[in-house]
């Protein structure tokens, strides 16, 4: 298989210092992926009772390690690498201070190591360090302070990374006052604004409650409050994982397919919508929480359904761009153009398969988000089946596929093997289809998630077809294929270091068919969108949080486990009314004395 040299300079040629940071971030991501895959395989084989390498008591340590390494370390390290590349590339200027850039990277590594040490401490009975709290680390489960401290430091690292990209943009904007924000930078900045808003919840949860509680500074916390604050962040973090994948679909995939992005303005609209809508939806993770009134859950459900809009816009825009590429390559016919696409290119095929899986994940996500039908699948294996399609494939497979395109430009070396890369993305697709299908179906049969012993001492689940045993085998086979795929990916990248250095491996991204100038300039008004996003968050969360605090206390003990069917609005707004009452009274008194 040949690879044409374009003769263009690479990112490494133009920005060697920044390329080193991007490579370091991506390697951190891949190491987390490899470790997470080992824990994932152990977990899949254990809970299906195919092969038990650990004691069931250690299952939650494995589960936590798998979750945290995959969805915090793998995804976010990749994100900061790609965002650094995208910002520097699209602004065509280096970072303002490379030392500052290495600083936030160092903080993220430090935080990760602290959290991972705390988690792995769970395997060592002689130490009191453990963090078997799963990725969803809200109370009442408690971790060692090292875990929360590590998370806090990691979070600070991501904030500083965002500030780094904002600094670059501001410096660029000062030199280009009349120009629109380059698309990739626009995507990076809107994503980070969303991240800053989302981080409010988890910061308050960790720094205000979980860490002091873990240190023994406070005796108890309100579990529902920490849980709600977690999901304040826990759903938008899904979009934090997804938006770099979207960035790659919008800006790299059209080029790889031989075409051009269909519409720059539409891409900007999508990212603005994600900024606005990602955060005020978190309560849809809490449909079965008894302490939150149904009305707030309905609002969260409605907001969540609005989030389908940017996803549908993306499906349209990306497919239109790819079709344009196919027709540029000579493709014809209603569907015949599909044959003209570069299916032998692992970067293209991986991203396309990831997009296909994302469509399936979107449909199962709608079921999760539907308040009544959610009760059927809540806390069943259906839910991991869903997020292995979204973050586990749409995001993870896109990241791996994009690496096949990006890596030569960061290293000036060709990929070790493109055929292995192609096989790797197909194996991931098949493995995930098998595993996720088994998880979804088992979920419908009522098999629970988050347990090492789903069989509950011989309890037989009723199945409408097949058997739980064969679904377990399917799950284990799928999980094993995913592990093999991960090994192939990491090996391929590692072995690429042994290929000879070349020049001229650079690949420019093509310009959109419809450029930024076709869209209103207000789309680039980041302050406006940030302000509206904050207002939406305040509207969505003020009353639920006030209600939770007024009923269960800021530091606990929390609410009774009795469902609130229709809580009077008065109860929710009582704390607010009480807080503004004195000011209103004074205002009324002043007005009374002034007016005749």
């Amino acid at each position: 298989m040949s690879e044409q040299l374009t003769g263009a300079s690479t990112f490494l040629d133009d920005y060697p210092e920044e390329a080193a940071v991007v490579r370091a971030a991506l390697w951190s991501s891949f190491i987390a992926l490899a470790l997470g895959a080992v824990f994932g395989l152990i977990q899949a084989l254990h809970r299906t009772d195919i092969l038990r390498l650990i004691d069931s008591a250690d299952y939650y340590t494995v589960l936590t390690a798998h979750g945290v390494l995959m969805v915090v370390s793998f995804t976010i390290f990749f994100l900061v690498g790609v965002f650094t590349w995208a910002t520097v590339r699209s602004l065509d200027r280096g970072v303002e201070s490379i030392r500052y850039t290495w600083t936030w990277y160092g903080l993220m590594v430090t935080g990760t190591l602290m959290a991972v040490v705390a988690i792995l401490g769970g395997f060592v009975p002689s130490t009191d360090i453990s963090a078997d709290v799963l990725f969803t680390f809200y109370a009442p489960m408690q971790a060692h302070p090292l875990f929360y401290g590590g998370l806090a430091i990691f979070l600070i690292g991501t904030w500083l990374a965002g500030a780094d990209w904002f600094r670059s943009w501001r410096a660029w904007a000062a030199e280009h006052p009349d120009e629109r924000i380059p698309l990739q930078t626009f995507m990076v900045l809107t994503t980070m604004l969303m991240w800053y808003i989302a981080s409010i919840g988890i910061t308050i949860a960790v720094v205000g409650f979980l860490l002091p509680w873990s240190l023994g500074l406070i005796e108890q916390v309100n579990p529902l409050l920490t849980r709600t604050l977690f999901w304040f962040w826990g759903h938008p973090v899904v979009y934090f994982w997804l938006m770099p994948a979207y960035l790659l679909w919008y800006t790299v995939l059209p080029t790889v397919s031989g075409g051009r992005l269909f519409s720059d303005p539409l891409a900007r609209v999508v990212f603005v919508l994600f900024l606005l809508l990602s955060t005020p939806v978190g309560i849809h993770h809490q449909y079965v929480d008894p302490g939150i009134a149904e009305g707030f859950k309905v609002i969260a459900m409605t907001n969540t359904m609005f989030l389908l809009l940017p996803s549908f816009l993306t499906a349209f825009t990306v497919v239109a761009s790819v079709e344009h590429g196919a027709r540029q390559r000579g493709g014809t016919g209603l569907f015949g153009w599909l044959r003209a696409l570069p299916w032998r290119d692992p970067a293209f095929t991986g991203m396309m398969l990831a997009g296909l899986m994302f469509a399936a994940g979107g449909f199962s996500g709608m079921i999760n988000a539907g308040m009544n039908i959610n009760y059927l699948v809540h806390n069943t294996l259906w839910v991991p089946g869903h997020f292995h399609l979204t973050v586990g494939t749409a995001v993870a497979l896109t990241f791996m596929a994009a690496t096949y395109w990006l890596w030569p430009q960061l290293t000036n070396r060709r990929l070790y093997s493109r055929p292995i890369g192609l096989a790797q993305v197909v194996i991931w697709f098949v493995g995930m289809a098998l595993m996720s299908n088994a998880m979804h179906v088992q979920g419908l049969f009522g098999v629970p998630r988050r347990t090492a012993e789903p069989q509950y001492q011989g309890f037989e689940f009723a199945t409408s077809f097949g058997s739980i045993t064969e679904l377990n085998i399917q799950l284990a086979v799928g999980g094993t294929l995913l592990f093999v795929s991960t090994v192939l990916f990491v090996s391929n990248i590692a072995l690429s270091a042994g290929t000879p250095k070349l020049s001229g491996l650079g690949e420019d991204l093509t310009d959109p068919l419809s450029t930024a100038h076709d869209s209103p300039a207000i789309l680039d008004n980041l302050k406006l969108w940030f302000g509206i996003a904050m207002v939406l968050v305040v509207l969505a969360y003020t009353l639920p949080l006030a209600s939770i605090i007024s009923r269960g206390g800021l530091f606990g003990p929390g609410v009774d486990p009795v469902p609130i069917v229709a809580e009077p609005i008065r109860v929710g707004i009582q704390p607010l009314v009480a807080s503004v009452e004195p000011a209103v009274s004074r205002l009324a008194a002043v007005a009374g004395s002034v007016l005749p």
């Binding site: 192609l422 098998l434 409408s464 097949g466």
Partner: protein, 73 residues
């Protein structure tokens, strides 16, 4: 224009496998058809295998118009 290629057969086989295998779940959940897992897997592999072989030997699909069409992507 590039037509049937080994890469395309690999990708297509993967997708076809997933579609045919997951039809079993749809049949089971929606229509209550309890297809035997082992036999259905054999059926799936047979469908995918025969399709791949037929594509590879040119029985179905489109052959490259010229050697240049079979170029790498």
């Amino acid at each position: 224009m590039r037509r049937t290629t080994q890469g395309g057969i690999l990708v297509g086989s993967g997708v076809l496998f997933v579609i045919v295998w997951e039809l079993r779940s749809a049949l089971g959940l929606l229509a209550g058809v309890d297809a035997n897992a082992q036999l259905y897997m054999l059926f799936t592999l047979l469908v995918v295998g025969l399709t791949a072989v037929a594509l590879a030997i040119g029985l179905i699909g489109l052959r490259p118009d010229s050697p240049a069409d079979d170029d790498a992507s």
